[in-house]
């Protein structure tokens, strides 16, 4: 596909063009700049970005599927970025989140993209951010980023979201798991999925107790049974209320600003990385001497 046809395709919201465009940006292709500068900024700033995180098996993808079904009733166009880990050994990945959403596979207004972490330090946040904007510019009014909530790069991605859900399920560990640093702090809304299973009420109570600590507003827990679509309407109402509060209070802009600056920083680092590596190799520095001092010297001389 030529770049002109791809840009035309993006304007026409053609699924092939959207898929290609995300790949080109993800792969650092030279046409990425053309694609990213062609996007509709109004659509990008208007879209709602929803982060869904939680441990494997909590039901993130199934919940995402339920949210898609519900939003499609209002004929909204939806984008989903489903992130799974790359193997640090082979660099390969199994991207399996899509299985739970296959009922929407032939719906042209549900744009799903699976993304592997590719072991990048922070670069994933930058490429996921680009994918979000491509989808938004192609008419997706809600974009869901789904990722396992462990590890720094996954946490960074969640910062792209306007609203973040933490999905937990009974039987995956006690409240101490939830108290561990990171998970609860990033969440705006706590969801106990598989609420029809034993232990769901206790988990919800424990979460409420844990989440209350150190926060002035008590975190209410939403209960869902994603496989049956139960609790999803109520959850979406909560998300909409919170989103509108955040828009009024300036919280949404504050988060967008933070995410924006972070993304720009990451692109700077992504662009600098190969140049710096080439420079370091070219200098063929002696092994003796402190790496930090050498790094400073190289940067000063750039």
């Amino acid at each position: 596909m030529t770049i002109d046809r791809l840009l035309e395709g993006l304007k026409a919201r053609d699924p092939r063009a959207i898929g290609r465009a995300i790949s080109l940006v993800e792969n650092g292709d030279e046409n990425a700049d053309l694609i990213l500068s062609s996007l509709d900024e109004d659509l990008v700033s208007g879209a709602t970005i929803l982060g869904i995180t939680g441990p494997p098996g909590a039901g993130k993808s199934t919940l995402t599927n339920g949210i898609i079904s519900r939003l499609r009733q209002n004929s909204e166009r939806i984008g989903i970025i489903a992130i799974d880990p790359s193997s640090p050994i082979s660099g390969g990945a199994i991207l399996g989140d899509r299985i739970r959403m296959m009922q929407h596979a032939t719906d042209r207004d549900v744009v799903v993209r699976s993304m592997a972490t590719r072991g990048r330090l922070g670069g994933l946040c930058a490429t996921a951010g680009a994918a979000v904007r491509i989808m938004a510019s192609c008419g997706c009014s809600t974009i869901i980023i789904e990722t396992v909530g462990v590890g720094q790069s996954e946490m960074d991605i969640i910062r792209l979201a306007d609203i973040t859900l933490l999905v937990l399920a009974p039987g995956l560990g006690d409240d101490i798991q939830a108290m561990k640093a990171g998970l609860l702090e990033v969440a705006d809304i706590l969801v106990v999925n598989k609420a029809d299973c034993k232990g769901a009420d206790i988990l919800a109570m424990d979460l409420e107790a844990v989440a209350r600590k150190g926060s002035s507003t008590p975190t209410q827990v939403s209960m869902t049974v994603a496989t049956e679509g139960k609790g999803i309407t109520e959850l979406l109402d909560r998300i909409a209320r919170l989103d509108s509060e955040h828009r009024d209070s300036g919280e949404r802009n504050k988060r967008r600003r933070g995410a924006h600056d972070q993304e720009v920083l990451e692109w700077c680092l992504e662009i600098l990385r190969p140049k710096l590596l080439a420079e370091i190799t070219r200098r063929n520095l002696p092994l003796a001497g402190d790496p930090r001092l050498k790094a400073k010297k190289i940067l000063e001389e750039q």
Binding site: S23, G92, L95, M102, A105, T106, S114
Partner: protein, 135 residues
């Protein structure tokens, strides 16, 4: 410019009503271990669903598995669905319980490679690598 980080991306899935996914999962894992990003779409998919997913995911190749005898109908149907959806260039590979006499007909219908039981996994991986490189 940023570093180029092109990865081979493939889709592995099972069209039709056959629910035996041991083979498909084995191939998906073998490809992962060979450095591929594998979008796994699971069992009981229609050719149209597989084609739509392949396009959204912008994969370089599609791998199909069938153990139920429906390959003569379903493998060409996926090739056709990809063509109709505007992606005739995405190569389709297939494997499973496939009688030797069907192989020529399947290749004629546009499936670029067919693997029968007992095929060494390295051969399958290198066929996927070739398919991805050609695309």
């Amino acid at each position: 410019m940023t570093e180029k980080t092109k990865k081979n991306r493939v889709l592995v899935g099972k069209p039709g009503l056959d629910g035996h996914d041991r083979g498909a999962k084995f191939i998906a894992q073998a490809l992962r271990d060979a450095g591929f990003e594998v979008v796994y779409t699971g069992i009981r998919r229609s050719p149209e669903e597989i084609a739509a997913a392949a396009i959204q995911e912008d994969v370089d190749a599609v791998g199909l598995s069938s153990l139920s005898g429906a390959h003569m109908r379903l493998f060409p149907a996926v090739v056709e669905a990809l063509g109709k959806a505007g992606a005739p260039d995405i190569p389709v590979l297939g494997g499973g319980v496939i009688p030797d006499e069907d192989i020529a007909a399947l290749k004629k219908a546009g499936i670029v490679a067919i693997f029968t039981p007992g095929t060494p996994v390295d051969k399958i991986i290198s066929a996927f690598q070739d398919a991805c490189a050609k695309k």
